[in-house]
């Protein structure tokens, strides 16, 4: 009887959905209670779900069979990023040269620094393409990783950690390296640490926030092109 119950619970399609939505809700709650960048709802949900699966012995396969219902809308949602991009393009036009130069420099710095560190630490091609899209928004980043043959779950975690790093260090780091211009601050935060960093940029000011959100999709699209070239370099 106990075994049958266990099988029923771990095989139920709704179990995966409940688990995903439940742990994510806990993450949202922790984030609003503590306000810590480290309490990122996605990070909390992933850690809690993995703990739950390990403790109960439920397999990833049966979890994902149910939970995949949630991820089904991922591509349509990604495509919707064209809407904020379209709405923000006016702001890009106003400071066109500075913004484009800044974002392009960010994308190149991302690719070049990862290439250099991968060569330096003598790591393999899969690690390289897994890390390449780490500074861009998760939706585009996981597509790039998959397309280039990287490990998608690792890419997602690395992207979240990148965002948290940016969120925590942006203010102090930009002060330290003497970036004072609000537009420059916004572009720096958005191209380095996507949506999670942008939350910080919005606290810093309206211009910072707007420029940071503008950089998210723009640097994402640029990275798709740059990464396909850089992927063949290591």
């Amino acid at each position: 009887m106990k075994n049958e119950l266990h099988t029923f619970l771990t095989e139920s399609v709704y179990m995966g959905v409940m688990l995903t939505l439940g742990t994510y809700s806990i993450g949202l709650w922790l984030k609003s209670k503590t306000g810590w960048a480290l309490m990122n709802p996605l990070l909390v949900a992933v850690v809690l779900t993995i703990c739950f699966l390990c403790v109960t012995g439920m397999s990833y396969t049966s979890y994902v069979r149910g939970a995949d219902v949630i991820s089904y809308m991922l591509t349509p949602a990604t495509i919707c990023l064209a809407v904020p991009l379209y709405e923000q393009i006016e702001q890009l036009k106003r400071n066109f040269r500075a913004v484009v130069i800044g974002i392009a420099a960010g994308v190149l710095a991302s690719m070049a620094s990862i290439l250099a560190l991968i060569v330096l630490l003598n790591m393999d091609h899969v690690s390289y393409v897994t890390l390449l899209p780490k500074s861009i928004t998760t939706a585009i980043g996981m597509c790039v990783s998959e397309e280039l043959g990287g490990s998608v779950p690792v890419t997602i975690m690395v992207i979240v950690i990148t965002g948290i790093t940016g969120n925590i260090f942006a203010e102090r780091f930009l002060h330290m390296i003497k970036v004072r211009e609000p537009i420059a601050k916004g572009i720096a935060i958005g191209s380095a640490s996507h949506v999670i960093g942008t939350a910080k940029a919005m606290e810093m000011g309206g211009t910072e926030g707007a420029m940071s959100s503008l950089s998210i999709v723009t640097s994402g699209v640029l990275t798709v092109i740059a990464a396909s070239v850089f992927a063949s370099l290591a």
Binding site: T20, I50, C80, R97, G102, I114, E146
Partner: protein
Amino acid sequence: MRYVLQLLIIICFSFLGEVLHAVLPLPFPAGIYGIVLLYAALSTGMLKVRHIKEASTTLIAAMPVMFVPPAVGLMETWSSIRDVWPQYMFITIISTLAVMAAAGWMTQGAIMWKGHGKARKEEQDEK
């Protein structure tokens, strides 16, 4: 009702993105083709933001929770990256700061350079 039509439009663009992904020999994901197509439709005025506003806002807001299932796949690949995890963290943090510095400096430099150019032009105009 409105949501159904809006969702239909978005799904159509997803489908077109998939078609391009299958047909074109470029290494770009289907979602990227979709973004480019939807952006083109919006900027040519074929489609107005209000035609997809509510559905797209909802989908974007709900996106982080959609990353949970693929990210949980980490437990399957963990054994293969356990040993290199510190290197991953090191590269992630260093390169994040490198991007921030490069983008920040270049944007600030370009703005100051433009301001400088403008000031010099005004100076010449005064002469």
